[in-house]
């Protein structure tokens, strides 16, 4: 075993690895990277070909001449821009509302004393285990009785009812030292002030993780948006792209172009925020 360096300089720095471990690690990671990316290259190739066949015999994976018509058609003849804006709008609305509501509720659970707290926490844990997909039927009726079917609210409101975010933020808040908010209270700060000015700034990474997961969940959801709204101009990306596929003569180039472009906003978001996934706070939160 080779020597190791004492007193790692940064908390994220790992133990010194042996050369064998390093080699194995890189081989594994390269393999995983190839597996992750390869399927995507097929779509890229198809989106740049002027054909409505999915597969041409013999295949030409690297088109001799790049064809941009699919992208032009996507913007000119489909509501792709509208779908993207809907997806972003609905996703941002859900994420924003959830951040506010969930941090308030998490704050009460983590930092306030009240009757029935243990019971409520258990209740939330139970609700986490409810499979949302099983609720399509009754959810449909609730939304209908509120007269919200086929409106943007039908996409936004039900998505707010997910207890996982509350419990996650609660974990972050519980791991904060008690003295901080105690001393603020002694100084006469209201609970709202304690939450917004002391607690929230300290759990920023937690909020970002929460925001990304919430947004991602919304971005990739398909079943509920499919049944909740019907009008073309309210569709989100997943449903919109699936409607391209339903034409009798499927335009694969168009679908590939749409699929490719649809990955961009969420990937950019992830790239911009990914460092927060690896904070100490996240791992701390997972322990509670």
């Amino acid at each position: 075993m080779p020597h190791f360096r004492r007193g790692a300089s940064s908390p994220v720095e790992s133990l010194k690895s042996t050369p064998t471990m390093l080699l194995v690690s890189y081989v594994l990671l390269c393999f995983a990277a190839i597996v992750s990316i390869t399927p995507f290259l097929y779509i890229l190739s198809t989106s740049l070909k002027d054909t409505n066949s999915l597969f041409s015999y013999p295949p030409d994976w690297i088109p001799e001449q790049l064809f941009w018509g699919n992208y032009a058609k996507l913007f000119e003849q489909t509501s792709f821009v509208r779908w993207t804006l809907n997806t972003l709008g609905v996703g941002i609305a859900i994420t924003g509302l959830k951040l506010v509501m969930d941090s308030m509720a998490a704050f009460a659970l983590a930092k306030l004393r009240f009757r029935g707290k243990a019971l409520l926490t258990t209740f939330l844990l139970l609700l986490v285990a409810v499979p949302i997909a099983a609720l399509v039927v009754p959810l449909f009726f609730v939304v209908r009785s509120m007269g919200l079917l086929n409106t943007y609210w039908a996409l936004i409101l039900p998505a707010l009812a997910n207890p996982l975010g509350i419990l996650m933020l609660r974990s972050f808040m519980v791991s904060l030292p008690e003295d901080l908010d105690h001393s603020a209270r002694l100084d006469g700060a209201s609970e709202w002030k304690v939450l917004t000015q002391i607690v929230l700034p300290l759990i920023k990474p937690g909020l970002v993780v929460h925001a990304i997961f919430t947004f991602m969940l919304q971005y990739t959801s398909f079943l509920w948006p499919l049944v909740a709204v019907q009008s073309d101009h309210m569709q989100v990306l997943t449903v919109g792209i699936s409607s391209l596929k339903s034409n009798f003569v499927v335009d694969w180039g168009l679908i590939s172009a749409a699929s490719l472009l649809a990955t961009i906003p969420i990937t950019v978001l992830f790239l911009a925020l990914q460092r927060f996934f690896l904070s100490q706070n996240l791992s701390a939160a997972l322990k509670h």
Binding site: Y57, Q77, N150, L226, Q230, S231, S246, N247, V249
Partner: protein
Amino acid sequence: MTDLTRRRFMQHGSAVALSAAGLAAGLSARTALASGHVSGDITMIKGPHSADEARFEAMIIDDFKAVEPGVNVTFTTYDWANMNAELTTGFASGNPSDVLYLVDLIYPNYAQQGALHDMTALVGAEDWSSERAQIPEFAWDLARLDGGTWGVPVLGAVYNIYVNKDLLSAAGVLDTWNRSYADMMDAARKTTSDGVYGFSVRARTGDFAFWDWLPYVHNAGADLLSEDWSECGLRGAEDATQFLIDMHQAGVTPPIGAMSTQEQFDLFKAGKIAIHHGETPQIAALMADPPAFEWDVAYAPPGETAQTVMGNFGILSIAEASPNKEAAWEFIKHWASGPQVGRFAEQVNLQVVREDIVDGMFDGNPAMQKIQQEFVPRVVGIQPHPQILKILQSIWPVAEQAYRGEFTGQETIDQMCDIINQIIA
């Protein structure tokens, strides 16, 4: 109207003389429509038959604007794969589209649930009688259920066979392949070679694979339900089903379920399938990008009692919840009129139901002409029982197992009948 439309229609129609009756009917419909007495906003929903569906619908709506300037029509589409979910949502919301394009497979259920408007009085009106007469009685039958008329039949979709004539003639079976099932089997065997398959039908549930099985059932004189819809009617289709099982077991098809119907069509276009079951809108793809071989459209060989073609129909319905049924009806009359439906059918390669415009259609598209003239009269559609979709989707997994060699034709039909009888009990 729109001189533009009429001119365009007349161009198509000029080669073959339009029947006088048809022309008169078209004109009388015009006068009925031109009154301009309705107004308001309505919406229409339809599954797309083309990637350019919205553009084609806009043409119809623009023409309507000239007749009924007071009506605004908004067009939306549903996704074929999810049509039930989307339509159900619309109906349940209490605010469905006013005009709905529904296929015979799903409208009966909605009619039974009270979601559709009974159009018996509308279609029976005196001022529409000449138009009404252009639509054959068998098509009206498909739109009638429980004493009501639930829509105006407008379009038909035929499930045809595509053949690669080069492969068939190289194997010496070009003229014989569709004389009988045995000949078709022989042709499939002879054309199968390394990487080339003699025969292909849909096998996946998601592809509505039952469309390709049903003509063989009909050819045997059987159908899903008995004549009075009281029990399973598949008795008699045992041998036909056995024939398709044998085909799949003979190694002349692509691996069962390995490809979607679209991927199979790609294979056909590449010249690697001799006898392929498809749909008429695919003709557009063959004409736009001609393959390197001679192809033609065909239908299955004769069975014990008949030689039929499978097809299904689309009707234009009005939602019971629509607040503006008058405007909806005016728009349906416009959509179903000869010039409009004729142009649309040509744009998307579908068949029209009305008989007066058939002769002049599909100029320069011999395959479609052949289908409209030779195939459509042979069409046997499905029985519009309210549970028909459930029946088809419930029995198909049995066929999937059978194609894979797990059941005989007899066992397949036995099991299917058990399922059907249970559903309609």
